[in-house]
């Protein structure tokens, strides 16, 4: 038994630690949604799951280089929250971004091509897994410095307010980023200046190999909001409908009142921090325990329960998703490398002399 | 009977050996042929064998020390023999380490005073073309990049430029200064000359000399050239000399000393003599099996008389003053025309000068007076337009043609002499710099 597990048992907290072991409180009624929306959400979660599994395969074949941070297990957070957004709302996130990118609308083809470092990638092959960008869907990246995206998000929200466009910005980050000064500086400014920004913390309980308990004197992220008088909410990140509802509440706050929200979504990643992580800091049992609350499994069960999904539907969707992923891989495989000239382009928007 | 062990010749080219290791120590028994020591020669380390039997009584030279061939390095004898005499002669026989070439003995001449050899050494013989990498042995030539470029473009010889930058770096300012100077054919810069003084009242006889055996190459050149060009294989070198400063100097001297009546030819004689001292290979003569190099310059001055050409000799013109030379030339030429010259006054010059300038001859080639190695033919000095730094200027120009005996003087050697001659004649103040 690892020392971390012992520590967690000893430091069992009532407010936060236990929630994820229980189904969501609150009645997120499916009946308020149309079937199309729900199926789309389910499809997206499945697509992200299969896409990430394919990434793991491609990475081990050497087709993806550098770092590859997989989203497997956290699909409900991205899909649930982004499903509540307007298409022109902004999303900005960290390097564990494939899920958000696909949910926001970047095609799996261009994402895979970017991962393969091809010219047809969404960042022309110059960003890679950690720097996916797509201005056409207001997907603002992909940032590799932990917490670096948080002040950027604050600025994007500032611009929306300045231009009076009513747009909302959602900023995703892990619980370990909460320790960065940039987090605190940003929340302070966001509340001070009333910026329409949703700070969405994906608490998967581990910052690389360090559990939250080992990194934070007070590991209750949502509670930290009181330091900034900012609205906050604690959500079961394995429940896609709970995520959707929580995000909708925050969006209303942002659009109507131009106020920020801090959402803490409890979730879990089934794979390691990245493809290079041997994952020795967690036990097999722990992972299996959280796999019982696999967000896709949970949602599928609920949809089937409510007669919105049959086994055939699932088979069809799986087939569709399989094709989509195959298409993405083929596209990436067939695409050319960037031209050598691309080495020295895009350094300046206005190159001089 | 005690014997000396001497440094043996252990290789054909060995001249001295170093004792690397003694294989026997004092008191050891030695038998004939036994190895006595290891000697480092110029080629290898060789074993030295004993040439007598007995006991090694004395080691005269330690490990690591050297001795020339034949020097006693040990004594072998009977154990109780008296070797004191042998020891004395052994240690006394050590000759001086330096092999000084004994100076060539001067022929006993009653009035030969101690003659100082001029200490001015000529510039190391090198190609006339300047190349910035070549430098006298005391280090790299430092040149700033722009200075190197300017020098190359302007044809300035870097070797002739004194660098005023740190560590003697030649810099832009130095090249600018060199470009403003009148061109002196870009030859090597002359060092100040040591002008030895003639002893007052001394009378000079024919110059002392030394004979050197001819090298194989020299013999070959002589043999082959004679068959192609007649008895003396001549070749000719011409140069045009800017005489303005020499002419000015003559005028100033004659203003200061009206009685001196120094002529241009007198200046030419003096300059030739000084230049010959710097180029001793020209102040020489072909002596069949040897080449004779003279220590002084005896200039034969061609004088036209009714009966023909005669060359009275100005002895040791290299040490005589201009005024003395002028006087001597006048006097000798006068007696030459009166047919009152003694043989020793017109024979045995080391170099001759013939001047037909007064006849308006621009240039001509003279025939060498054997056994001299060269003769200088001087043309008229006339004002001419010449190009200087891209501008036309008027200067007094004079052409000099040197005939050389190819058996003794090669092209480059003759040319270098002529270059020096021209440099001094164009800047006659060199004569008075001294060292």
């Amino acid at each position: 038994m690892s020392s971390q597990t012992t520590q967690r048992q000893v430091n069992a907290r009532t407010s936060a630690a236990g929630v994820i072991d229980q189904p969501s409180k609150g009645v997120e009624t499916l009946r308020e949604e149309d079937r199309e929306t729900l199926l789309r959400m389910f499809h997206q979660m499945l697509l992200i799951r299969r896409f990430e599994e394919k990434c793991a395969e491609s990475y081990s074949m050497g087709k993806i280089g550098g770092f590859c941070h997989l989203y497997i297990g956290q699909e409900a957070v991205a899909v649930g929250s982004i499903s509540a957004l307007r298409p022109d709302d902004y999303v900005i996130t960290s390097y564990r971004e494939h899920g958000q990118a696909i949910a926001k609308g970047i095609s799996p083809e261009t994402v895979m091509a970017e991962l393969y470092g091809k010219a047809t990638g969404c960042s022309k092959g110059k960003g890679g897994s950690m720097h996916l960008f797509d201005a056409s869907v207001n997907f603002m990246g992909g940032h590799a410095i932990v917490g670096g995206q948080i002040p950027l998000a604050t600025g994007i929200a500032f611009a929306s307010k300045y231009k009076e466009t009513n747009q909302v910005t959602v900023c995703y980050f892990g619980e370990a980023a909460v320790n960065q000064g940039a987090f605190h500086e940003s929340l302070n400014m966001a509340q001070l200046w009333k910026l329409p920004c949703i700070y969405l913390c994906e608490n998967n309980m581990y910052g690389m190999g360090t559990s939250a308990q080992r990194a934070m004197s007070m590991d209750d992220v949502a509670t930290k909001a009181c330091a900034y008088e900012i609205a906050s909410e604690f959500v079961d990140g394995m429940d896609v409908m709970a995520m959707r509802r929580a995000t909708q509440r925050a969006i209303e706050r942002a659009r109507e009142h131009s106020l920020p929200t801090l959402i803490e979504a409890r979730t879990y990643r089934y794979m390691g921090h990245s493809m290079s992580d041997p994952g020795k800091y967690r036990t097999r049992q722990e992972i299996e325990k959280y796999q019982e609350r696999d967000p896709i499994k949970l949602f599928r069960a609920r949809l089937e329960e409510n007669g919105l999904l049959t086994e055939d539907d699932v088979k069809q969707l799986e087939e569709q998703v399989r094709e989509q992923v195959e298409r993405a891989v083929k596209f990436a495989d067939d695409s050319p490398d960037p031209q050598p000239e691309e080495l020295t382009t895009d350094i300046y928007a206005n190159p001089l002399g | 009977m005690a014997t000396q062990v001497v440094m043996p010749k252990l290789s054909p080219t060995m001249e001295e050996g170093q004792v690397a290791r003694w294989l026997k120590k004092e008191g050891d028994k030695v038998s004939m042929g036994e190895p006595l020591a290891e000697i480092d020669t110029d080629k290898a380390t060789m074993e030295m064998q004993a040439l007598s039997a007995g006991v090694l009584r004395k080691v005269l030279i330690q490990e690591g020390e050297s001795a020339p061939l034949g020097r006693p390095i040990a004594i072998i004898g009977e154990p109780d023999e008296d070797i004191s005499e042998l020891l004395k002669t052994a240690t006394a026989a050590a000759p001086a380490k330096e092999t000084v070439e004994t100076p060539a003995k001067l022929p006993e001449s009653d009035k030969a005073p101690a003659i100082e050899k001029p200490t001015a050494e000529p510039e190391p013989t090198s190609k006339p073309e300047p190349s910035p990498e070549r430098r006298p042995s005391n280090g790299r030539m430092l040149v700033s990049p722009i200075a190197a470029r300017m020098a190359a473009e302007a044809g300035v010889d870097l070797k002739s430029v004194q660098g005023s930058g740190p560590s003697g770096r030649i810099i832009k300012r130095d090249i600018e200064a060199a470009m403003k100077e009148p061109k002196t054919a870009g030859g090597p810069k002359l060092r100040p000359l040591a002008i030895p003084k003639a002893q007052p009242g001394a009378v000079y006889g024919p110059s002392a000399y030394r004979d050197e055996p001819m090298s194989e190459m020299r013999r070959t050149i002589a043999r082959r050239l004679v068959t192609s060009l007649g008895p003396v294989p001549h070749f000719f070198l011409t140069t045009e000399i800017e005489m303005d400063r020499a002419a000015d100097m003559r005028q100033q001297i004659n203003t200061l000393y009206p009685d001196a009546k120094v002529s241009i030819n007198d200046i030419i004689i003096k300059v030739a003599a000084v230049a010959l001292i710097q180029h001793p290979q020209v102040n020489a003569s072909f002596q069949d099996k040897t080449v004779r190099y003279y220590e002084h310059v005896d200039i034969g001055v061609a004088v036209a008389t009714e009966n023909g050409l005669i060359t009275p000799v100005i002895r040791s013109a290299d040490v005589k003053s201009l005024i003395d030379i002028a006087g001597e030339v006048r006097e000798l030429a006068g007696r030459a025309r009166e047919r009152k010259l003694k043989p020793e006054e017109y024979l045995g010059a080391t170099f001759s000068i013939s001047n037909l300038g007064m006849f308006g001859i621009d240039e001509f080639t003279a025939v060498i007076n054997p056994p001299e190695a060269a003769i200088l033919a001087i043309g008229a000095m006339t004002e001419k337009p010449v190009a200087r730094n891209g501008e036309i200027e008027i200067h007094k120009m004079m052409r000099a043609t040197m005939s050389c005996d190819h058996r003794v003087v090669d092209g480059a050697v003759g040319a270098q002499f002529l270059q020096t001659f021209k440099q001094i004649l164009e800047n006659p103040l060199y004569l008075f710099l001294g060292s």
């Binding site: 902004y90 900005i92 990638g121 969404c122 960042s123 022309k124 092959g125 110059k126 960003g127 720097h131 960008f133 797509d134 201005a135 603002m140 990246g141 992909g142 940032h143 590799a144 410095i145 670096g148 948080i150 002040p151 950027l152 998000a153 604050t154 600025g155 994007i156 929200a157 500032f158 611009a159 929306s160 300045y162 231009k163 000064g181 940039a182 500086e185 940003s186 302070n188 400014m189 001070l192 200046w193 382009t345 895009d346 350094i347 300046y348 928007a349 206005n350 001089l352 002399g353 | 700033s144 990049p145 722009i146 200075a147 190197a148 470029r149 005023s164 930058g165 810099i171 832009k172 300012r173």
Partner: protein, 326 residues
């Protein structure tokens, strides 16, 4: 032509650009109600309002990142650092976000932001408040670095920097805010970035100087003129991209170069200029390039020590004499 201080010239530039483009806004510590720590932003709050001229908390990393994010979303922020010493806190956002955004997004997100403020030494403000760190920022492709030395240059260059679509590090000098100079009164007066200025023509030596050392170089040139040495003084104005061509043309003419700067010598802008001159104009050099830099020490407090740490006219004069072998 008006004769105004550098402070006022900068103020004019800000005012004109805020008026010209609604997307331009200004944020920093004390820029609004305090009228600017150095009065450079005086009067702007009153004229443009709190939406566009914003006082920030002391939160450099935060507001620098906010500026970059706002630029991503289409605004043109001017972010003031009270001094560039404090920009060190913000370097992650300046370098990892601003400098790289366009490149790593494959050309999708340009960052038209200006980070401005005073850099270099002041008067006895000691080591943490006196750093000249332009070479830090000039190191990164993706950033532009500008350093004006006169009121006219300050105004023209700041306007161009604000209109430029790339992140510009605009480093002023506190000691020079009060300097007076002629400035064209045209309200569209701009000076292009990336163009050096020959502040004084000469033939014997080139002095390349920036910011605080430009007046020093000019004084040295005047003194040297009396001694028969004619100096050409070049102010690069933009450090990155550097107008090396103008400098090289001058080197070809004079053959000797002195670089004068208040920053440390090691890995400084002077080292870069020297390297480029040696690479491109080696054959024109009469002497190696000589740098006159600030002392390689943290800035001391004591007045006399501080003076020793900053190059003065005699030092520049001596350097020119060294390269001209005078």
């Amino acid at each position: 032509m008006a004769v105004i201080t550098m402070r006022d010239a900068l103020n004019d530039a800000l005012r004109e650009e805020l008026a010209r483009d609604q997307n331009v806004f200004l944020m920093g510590e004390e820029v609004a109600e305090y009228q600017g720590a150095y009065k450079v932003t005086r009067g702007l709050l009153e004229e443009f309002g709190a939406k566009r001229v914003i006082d920030s908390p002391i939160t450099e990393l935060g507001f620098a990142g906010l500026g970059v994010g706002a630029a991503m979303a289409g605004l043109r922020p001017i972010i003031e650092f009270m001094t560039f010493n404090f920009s060190l806190l913000a370097t992650d956002q300046i370098i990892n976000s601003a400098a790289k955004m366009l490149y790593m997004s494959g050309g999708q997100f340009k960052i038209p932001i200006v980070f401005r403020g005073p850099g270099g030494s002041a008067y006895q403000v000691s080591s943490q408040h006196s750093q000249a760190i332009e070479s830090w920022y000039a190191y990164f492709p993706g950033l532009k670095v500008v350093m004006p030395s006169t009121p006219a240059d300050a105004k023209g260059l700041l306007k161009s920097a604000i209109r430029d679509d790339d992140p510009v590090i605009f480093i002023e000098q506190e000691r020079m805010y009060g300097m007076k100079g002629e400035v064209p009164e045209d309200d569209d007066f701009t000076i292009p970035l990336g163009v050096a200025d020959i502040k004084r023509e000469g033939t014997d030596a080139t002095i390349v100087a920036r910011s605080l050392l430009v007046p020093t170089a000019l004084k040295a040139a005047e003194q040297l003129e009396k001694e028969g040495i004619s100096c050409e003084v070049i102010d690069p104005r933009t450090i990155r991209p550097l107008d090396i061509e103008t400098i090289i043309e001058s080197v070809k003419k004079t053959n000797r170069v002195v670089v004068a700067e208040e920053s440390h010598p090691f890995c400084g802008v002077g080292a870069e200029i020297s390297a480029e001159i040696h690479e491109r104009a080696f054959d024109y050099l009469d002497a190696p390039v000589k740098r006159v830099s600030g002392a390689d020490v943290p800035m001391p407090y004591a007045k006399n020590l501080e003076q020793l740490a900053i190059p003065d006219v005699p030092q520049v004069v001596a350097a020119v004499k060294e390269v001209t072998y005078s």
